[in-house]
Symmetry: C2
Subunit: 516 residues, 2 copies
């Protein structure tokens, strides 16, 4: 007789959740046994939980639907939280299933007992402990619905072992009650149109979420061209379509001073699925808001609204037809010699195959990438959204599982890569088509810049030993081979281009350690 | 002028907290700059936060005093939680310092903002957000006192960036108000003595914490010999002294059925710093409590009491003199051929140098270790206490930092090692004297056993792919070399013994991949 764990699996499958990124433990064995009986469920093992949730994030960004994850009690959830944080900031749909002790066992406070709800809540929009086998189908359907409630979010289901191993009274998977995004608000559309028509109003249309999809950008750029406004993307976004044939979107700069300067003359900002720009960190004497004090902020559409329809209605109200992207500047010629942020950007932009996915956790070394790759082949750009480093490689895992026919480039800083280096093993295990471009500057370069910014002077021994990653230098080719991923080290832009061509031509994971 | 971050450092140093395991980020740059000005503070970098807190746990278990940790906002804390969980279960004193945004920046909900208190509470006995630069010294002293309040515990201080960068009105580090453990309760001593004198009472003295220290065991074993009681250690303990000259302590078995059988005839249990034994996990039809229903449980001393004094008073009441350990059975001769759990235990026991520290996260492969190493050289045994795998290598880092003159053996299962493999880099960075004995069985063996136990039959594709770690096999020698640690693979017990001798004779980290 199928049990609660079977019912959980079948409810996931009924709702088209058919990939489970997993790192199971003892308390989840009935769930594992149930997964083993479901041939339609693809189970992908991660050797650390941050890989699991980061992959679920990448998968959902590419498919638009949630993956499930399988995590082992409070500590397993804890290890998964940092990338749940990033997913939360990306509005990614995700259904985490956390196994717990049998409910009657909890009062005994066995060693692995912890407050799972307490751990889950800060990174989840929905947390639900399954009350028993008869609650499995309802609870799971609720989690799936909440995960997909616009604009999407992270949900956590707690599955007590006895709810998994008990047979439900009635075995009936439940269909999730999915909601569409809210239709555009006519008064907001009218207000935005009026704002855009106002004389002398230096206006920015600030976009994120679905408002960044190509069709929506056709409207946004047409509106901007007709009214003199500018289009900007939020600093961090879950997904962008870039390259030839797409609008050359600029984003809000990361560095506070540059961002403040960028908005200095802006008088009104119209938000379309975006938040008003704020400083990533606070600094003494610098503002928290990026906007000038007298800048007006209005919302055309919130993230949970139908941002694409709102842009279409706004264009219609203004009598503006959608504008396709103009031809971008072609990619620059490949530089030679030592690898710099600029030569890296050009080499990567030139190497990107058509319809690739670029997972970008390049931190400091990749800051030139965006501006210099508008002329690359059309590709999808996935970015770190929550600032919790260690998501780049897991994102690439998830994107490659989601899109087996597309090449994935993972542009990855070394310090960040170490947090979830176990993702390399999953790439090898699943033979995922990922080129890891590992940027080996052997330091937390962003922190060295920040330390200088706080006026600390020349770093002494303690600071150096917290910000340098040499002594020993990490040998990424050896580390990757240890996990079954072949690789090579490059020291010149030409060698980088050669290895990118080699890795692109073959199928499966390959790591290029880029000395930068 | 020194700021709040300086005052935090100086308050730590005034209270003899002079090691900081760190993984800093931007919001902690003023704290990093302050640490850089404190030459008495040793800063040890971990490339992942689980390394940081696991090392702080190992350090405190060996020194009896807390280390500080430095963590970056909510996601950095999240990555640290699993080993905070283990430390919590070990009653380890620890002072975590979590940097957060400047207080005025929090309402702007910048990308890295999260509910840090909510994340910290499940794994901390004390959580305190520093209210400003003038609150730094008091808050830090409180955290240090709470960390050391018997029997010790995990504390978390949240340091807003503006509290760090602002100058306090008065610069005065505060001394922590430390408390001694509670003196023995005379009525409990009398009750325990009466229980032990009762006729026909099959009694177990169940010990943990300081009651396991050699002097306390001299009392406990003498009491047992005089009254016919048995001495047992809790299943998991923070620290044990073992080998020649120490009492051959047996622990409560991990496997439920074996543990239940072990206690089947026991009629009373006297707890000395221990908890009544419970099943690590619940299983259908098996009990949560290990004890027979009619078994009486009395407490001689709780973990927060002076358990050593309580045992001494109990011995005194019973008129029993402390008994030194009798000579153990000598170590068995080294077997030859393929490496088995038994041959592993003998090889490791024979190789342990005098006064070594053995960090044991061997999971299934190490289950024979305990029974077969009573005759090893005297050594300290550190164990996983909370069931959150991925602590063995970090524990070894912390133990080696605490005791630079003692050799550390890290007996480490492969699946568990992957969670915090970054600890290898810190071993290389600090040239820590650690021999990593990496048990490469290429599977989650414990889970394969558990899956069979739930009656799932032969694992199919989904189960196999969640429980096997082959495809690809991890090459631990390559992985370790990637992080600067030299190593070798062994396939026979003789080769293992050779490499153990080689690694023991040299100084610095070395990894032996043991094919088992």
């Amino acid at each position: 007789m199928p049990n609660g764990a079977d019912l959980l699996c079948d409810t996931l499958l009924l709702n088209d959740v058919d990939v489970c990124f997993a790192n199971p433990g003892t308390s989840e064995m009935h769930f594992v046994a149930a997964l083993d009986r479901k041939l339609d469920m693809r189970c992908v093992l991660g050797l650390f939980e941050g890989v699991v949730t980061g992959a679920a994030d990448g998968y959902a960004r590419m498919t638009g639907k949630p993956a499930a994850t399988l995590l082992h009690t409070g500590p397993g959830l804890a290890n998964a939280l940092a990338n749940m944080h990033n997913a939360r900031r990306a509005n990614t749909p995700m259904v985490n299933v956390v196994g717990d002790h049998a409910s009657y066992h909890l009062p005994f406070d066995a060693p692995l007992t912890s407050d799972i709800e307490g751990l889950a809540r800060p990174m989840s929009r929905f947390v639900r402990r399954i009350a028993g086998a008869d609650d499995v189908a309802t609870a799971t359907a609720e989690a799936i619905a909440e995960a997909q409630r616009p604009p999407g979010g992270v949900t956590t289901l707690i599955l007590p072992a006895d709810a998994a191993w008990t047979d439900p009274t009635v075995y009936r998977p439940v269909k999730a009650d999915l909601r569409a995004p809210a239709a555009p608000d006519a008064s907001r559309v009218a207000a935005a149109a009026a704002a855009l028509r106002a004389e002398g109003s230096a206006t920015v249309l600030l976009l994120s979420g679905d408002a960044l999809q190509p069709g929506a950008l056709d409207h946004a750029f047409a509106i901007a061209a007709a009214t003199g406004a500018e289009v900007l993307g939020q600093q961090a976004n879950a997904r962008l379509e870039r390259g030839t044939g797409r609008h050359p979107l600029e984003r809000v700069p990361y560095v506070v001073d540059i961002a403040v300067k960028r908005f200095a003359k802006v008088r009104q900002v119209i938000l379309v699925g975006a938040a008003a720009p704020v400083a990533f960190f606070a600094y003494p004497g610098k503002p928290s808001s990026i906007l000038p004090p007298d800048c007006a902020v209005t919302t055309l559409a919130a993230p949970e609204d139908d941002t694409r329809a709102a842009l279409a209605q706004l264009a219609d109200t203004l009598g503006v037809a959608p504008a396709p992207a103009s031809a971008p500047e072609p990619m620059a010629d490949l530089p030679t010699g030592a690898i710099t942020p600029l030569s890296l950007a050009i080499a990567v932009g030139r190497a990107l195959p058509d319809n690739a996915i670029l997972c970008d956790e390049s931190v400091t070394s990749g800051r030139d990438l965006f501006a210099h790759t508008h002329g690359a082949a059309p590709h999808t750009h996935l970015q770190l959204t929550g600032g919790a480093i260690g998501e780049g490689l897991p994102l690439a895992v998830g994107a490659a599982v989601a899109c087996p026919d597309r090449k994935v480039f993972a542009l990855q800083a070394d310090g960040s890569a170490m947090y979830t280096n176990q993702a390399l093993w999953t790439m090898a295990r699943e033979n995922l088509d990922v080129v890891v471009i590992l940027l080996s500057n052997r330091r937390y370069a962003i922190l060295q810049g920040e330390l200088a910014a706080v006026g600390a002077g020349t770093p002494g021994r303690n600071a150096q030993r917290m910000l340098d990653l040499d002594q020993p230098a990490i040998d990424w080719v050896s580390l990757a081979r240890g996990m079954g991923v072949d690789g090579a080290r490059v020291e010149t832009t030409e060698a980088l281009a050669d290895k990118l061509a080699y890795a692109t031509a073959q199928k499966g994971p390959f790591l290029i350690e880029v000395m930068i």
